[in-house]
């Protein structure tokens, strides 16, 4: 590419290289081959292919699998590599030109790495998370901590090392694998940070057995304090916000929100109605509807676009969080912001139910900078920009209910700072 070329030729050349690069990258699965310029180009490309990739990834034997897939793909590009531009080339070029990459910065789902040192429970968990079978920030965090307990129990210290040192690197490997399945949630990140601190704080003098025992126990405590008890406190507080005759709008299927509703209905014996707004492709609202129906709560089920039609009667909007970012915004399931805006426009209170484990140091302005793509189990159109999360501005949030009390969204950084030693 040192040689001078006209713009058009250059473009053509780059395109060819891009395709070649794509093949190379696929075949060498993870090897950082290829030059810099090529990598830049294929970055964009890999975005477009994200869905294809994610489909391939659903299988653990990703190496052989992705090879097989790329072979079938290469049939089309092998032809145009050598011959003169055909009409199909032009069609492809046009297809690429009409492509819009709204979320170009967001990393597409990857194949789960498999390493020799990985504990089976971690691998299992990574797969479950990737396929969204375990979903929800808190549930994922809990499942991870339970898996880590297993990892601790089954860990054998190498003959030449101490437990605390070698386990830290072992743990990092597990996290690496877990991360490759699906990006870590904020709560998982916080929990991992805590666990690493605990591990490094282990005394060198104690035996492996007692160190393991201590870790297993402290993880149990962590799950109890930061997730289970926190949930229970939030449920107790939040259910007091519900009144007889209320019509509660919920979006998605937050566990703590559902528990609150069930608690208010079954324990506090309040009579109210729930409107569930849902959206494709996850349809989490159906799951929520089943849970609420089973305890007898009357449920109206709509899709998010039908919200203007039903919003007239709504009295409260309750929503769970993936994270609360440090500038007070709510980072939650895509669509939450839309619902919150509609609710706020009608002066309907927007209550966010969020454990402090989900509080993040990060500041975020929009859904473009940090996000995830929803992995697709079925072959979808790569044009559908299936992002996982969006950002709700704090001005639409009336109250954030946490286990340390109810507070305005602007107080998130205060909690993070003041409670640092406890959190």
């Amino acid at each position: 590419m040192t040689q001078q070329l006209s713009g058009k030729e250059l473009k053509e050349l780059k395109k060819k290289q891009k395709q070649a690069q794509r093949q190379a990258r696929k075949n060498q699965a993870g090897n950082q081959a290829g030059n810099q310029a090529g990598n830049q180009n294929s970055n964009q490309n890999s975005n477009q292919n994200s869905n294809q990739n994610s489909n391939q990834n659903s299988n653990q034997n990703s190496n052989s699998n992705s090879n097989a897939n790329s072979n079938s793909n290469s049939a089309s590009s092998a032809g145009n590599g050598s011959s003169a531009p055909t009409s199909r080339d032009y069609a492809e070029t046009r297809a690429q030109m009409t492509q819009v990459n709204l979320f170009a910065g967001i990393e597409p789902p990857k194949a789960i790495m498999s390493k020799l040192q990985v504990h089976s429970s971690i691998l299992h968990l990574a797969l479950q998370m990737q396929s969204c079978r375990i979903i929800g920030s808190a549930s994922r965090c809990k499942a991870m901590m339970l898996a880590f307990q297993q990892v601790v129990r089954d860990y054998d210290t190498p003959s030449n090392g101490s437990f605390s040192r070698s386990f830290a690197s072992h743990l990092s490997q597990q996290i690496e694998v877990l991360k490759s399945g699906r990006g870590l949630s904020v709560s998982m990140g916080n929990a991992i940070r805590w666990l690493k601190q605990e591990t490094s704080g282990l005394s060198m003098d104690i035996s492996d057995e007692s160190a393991k025992e201590y870790l297993v126990e402290t993880i149990s405590d962590f799950i109890r304090d930061r997730l289970d008890v926190a949930d229970r406190i939030i449920v107790d507080t939040a259910s007091n916000h519900l009144q007889e005759g209320d019509v509660v709008l919920i979006y998605g299927s937050s566990k703590v929100v559902l528990n609150t509703l069930i608690h208010a209905y079954t324990v506090q014996k309040k009579k109210f109605r729930v409107v569930i707004a849902d959206s494709p492709p996850l349809f989490e609202g159906k799951k929520a509807a089943r849970k609420l129906m089973n305890v007898g709560i009357p449920v109206t089920y709509i899709l998010i676009s039908a919200l203007p039609y039903v919003i007239k009667g709504i009295t409260t909007f309750m929503v769970g969080a993936h994270a609360m970012v440090s500038n007070g915004n709510l980072y939650s399931r895509v669509g939450t912001s839309m619902v919150a805006v509609m609710a706020a426009a009608r002066s309907i209170p927007v209550l966010v139910l969020c454990e402090t484990i989900k509080f993040s140091d990060r500041v975020q302005l929009d859904a473009f900078s940090v996000n995830e793509f929803i992995p697709q189990s079925t072959k979808g159109n790569k044009d559908e920009n299936l992002i996982f999360f969006d950002l709700t501005d704090q001005k639409f949030i009336s109250k954030v209910i946490t286990e340390v009390g109810a507070l305005p969204a602007s107080s998130v950084p205060v909690i993070l700072r003041e409670y640092k030693q406890f959190l």
Partner: protein
């Protein structure tokens, strides 16, 4: 009279088609209504414009009742009625008393019109203009005309009046014909719309079901270089949304599909929201497919302009006092499949097909007459419709 049976079958056929939605979509319904009116008017002999207006109103009420959500059907009828009234005015200054009372029925006519009426009344010496019924109108003919002829309805009318009625009929049919041309010709609408779009715009359209929108974007793409984001419009218009994106891509327009839930997330990047109204209401608000209201709310949060595109025939002389009555609710099995018996059994599932978008959420209403602020729409509507025709039937949507 021979064609009367014929026209009646045509009317009942049209009514069934409306009810069964064999004719649907704002434009199709508008055109079909206009064509039916032509056949209806040419199938009969008209004694007076009053009778014509009365008959068309009766027919209109039937059509509107058959499918109250297709507002364009009523719009076309009301437009034609207004045209008849205007034509009537044009016939009036010639001094024929046949039309005097028509003026009375139409107090919203211009000052000039009123002057000419009083003028003709003075010359004819017939000062009694307070009578409003066509019956009285015809009786007056009977007394005044020298050569009476028997009309189908049993009244005596002169040959001269008959000739006049024929002229009137032809004039009305000509008017309807030009209305049809106007409905079919989207070019002025598109031209006004394209002026609002600039190169490198990132447009979001939540109306994939609208044919007008697809046509508009394709037309605009010939002149401007922009990108289109189409919302999925789940569950009612998913296929149409996919098709629209494909159509745009085939035409070389950069386009992509987003789920409805992601509208707010991408709105930060969008530069304009373009919506296609099914009907524009007198307050400047509009009815559009489900999901549009949310997109407009999101646009408002980011202060992005919202353009509402609607042919003049979609301007409806109706105020949305009761919004819910304007919105049709569709098949709930599209939301939750009947096969999911457990959910379907216990849940209340709602699937509204349309949204009402209040005028505050819209920045510009683009019609065939050019762009206008939503606040100004009532004035455009006043131009096109007579206030006497605001409601054709008592059960009509928006009727007080």
């Amino acid at each position: 009279m021979s064609s009367k049976g014929d026209i009646n079958t045509q009317i009942s056929l049209f009514l069934t088609q409306l009810k069964r939605r064999q004719i649907s979509g704002a434009k199709e319904v508008a055109l079909a209504t206009a064509n039916l009116l032509i056949r209806f008017i040419s199938s009969r002999r008209w004694v007076s414009t009053t009778a014509m207006i009365e008959q068309i109103r009766i027919l209109g009420a039937k059509l509107v009742d058959a499918q109250p959500y297709e507002l364009t059907c009523g719009n076309v009828i009301k437009r034609v009625l207004k045209n008849i009234r205007t034509i009537n005015e044009a016939f009036a200054p010639k001094g024929n008393k046949d039309t005097d009372l028509e003026e009375d029925l139409n107090p919203s006519s211009s000052m000039l019109g009123l002057l000419s009426v009083s003028d003709s009344m003075n010359t004819s010496g017939d000062g009694d203009s307070s009578n409003n019924s066509s019956m009285a109108n015809l009786t007056k003919h009977k007394s005044n005309e020298a050569e009476p002829g028997l009309t189908p309805s049993g009244y005596y009318v002169s040959e001269e009046v008959r000739a006049k009625a024929r002229d009137l009929r032809n004039a009305v049919i000509d008017e309807i014909q030009s209305l049809i041309d106007e409905i079919q010709n989207d070019d002025p609408l598109f031209k006004a719309g394209i002026d609002m779009i600039t190169d490198s715009d990132l447009l979001l359209t939540p109306c994939p079901s609208s044919k007008t929108m697809v046509d508009f974007l394709l037309k605009a793409a010939a002149k401007r270089n922009f990108t289109v984001i189409v919302t999925e419009s789940y569950p009612n218009n998913v296929e149409k949304a996919k098709k629209m994106v494909q159509q745009l891509k085939n035409a070389g327009v950069k386009s992509t599909l987003i789920p409805d839930a992601a509208v707010f997330a991408v709105m930060a990047k969008v530069s304009k929201v373009v919506i296609s109204a099914r009907a524009v209401l007198a307050n400047g608000g509009c009815i559009a497919s489900s999901g549009v209201a949310m997109a407009c709310h999101a646009a408002k949060q980011f202060t992005k302009p919202v353009l509402s595109i609607a042919g003049s025939y979609k301007l409806s002389p109706i105020y949305p006092f009761d919004v819910e009555s304007l919105i049709e609710v569709g098949n709930s099995s599209k939301v939750i499949d009947f096969s999911d018996a457990e959910l379907m059994d216990k849940l209340e599932v709602i699937n509204p097909l349309y949204d009402y978008i209040s005028p505050e959420l819209i920045d510009i209403v683009i019609s065939s007459d050019g762009g206008a602020s939503p606040n100004f729409v009532y004035r455009l509507i006043l131009d096109n419709y007579s206030e006497h025709d605001q409601h054709l039937s008592s059960v009509e949507i928006g009727a007080a």
